[in-house]
Amino acid sequence: MDEKKIVQLCLKGKNEAYEMLVKKYQSNVLSIAYAITSNMEDARDIAQESFIKAYKKLDGFSQESSFKNWILSITYNTGIDLLRKRKTILNFIKKSKKEDMDPQYEKYNTVEGSEIFSPALKKLKPRERAALLLQIDLNYKTKEIGKILNCNESTVRVHIFNAKKKLKKILSVTERSIK
């Protein structure tokens, strides 16, 4: 079925139509959420929250643009918001000198608790990982990535270049240490 028709059905309150959209794009949304957080539990929460947000804002969605790009953009923003909130909480805890009391807070650094990404990929910034994933895995062009990440093409190019440069550096250091 045509995506526009599915969106129109959703606007009429048909949940089955929205289920189709969720099932179609859930893997892409989950991948980008994971690229930002590096934690599957958080990624699942972000992905679900993004789909719920999208459902709520569906009447404001311009049907000339693609639903996929729109939902990926919502996911990226939701993920970044979550990281920002956690950073604020962490800073607050560190300021209160309570970080030693509960080691559980350390997991909010987001790079912990993941086995999918290699340590090298985990060392990148969330924005860099998201840009890499969109370009390499989802085959997006720089312009489209810019729209999703809410930045211009030059910034996307710089993110991708920096990410690849960092990865090369980390991997060559690892290879050298193995030898």
Partner: protein, 158 residues
Amino acid sequence: MMCWLFKFFYRIVPFNFIKAIIINKHFAQCPNCGEVKISDEQIKDDLKKLENSVKQTDLWPGVERGIRIRKKVKKNRAGSFLWRYAAVAGLLLVLVFSFNLLNRKNNFIGEKVKINGKKSEEVVVKFIEIDGKEARGFFYNSDNRDRLIVWAQKNKED
């Protein structure tokens, strides 16, 4: 080669659009600098792993639950707002009604007034008007049983 100069510029320049130009004009074309970055193939392994693990996840049950809860909350909120509006409207109605009632009493409109306590003789004043505007009326029973004094007074706001 001049590669070190480009690397130096890339590091110190604060603007992304200039960095992007350096990437396009030099790093993307220079055979020496090409080795600086990792190839896409080397990252694809990690991304493939991610792709396989996200394929097993079904988000719909959680999304559906979330949508249902939000709809319920919205409905409840709308209901409580309706109740508040109804309560305020009711209160306003009571206020307007009682104010009207009090005002009418002051003006003696349509009220029956007994003259010297005699039931048989009653005066009904329907409306009092001074200079075309509604006025207040007062009744005084005088010593003379056959006489009733009606005092008409302009409303203060007029």
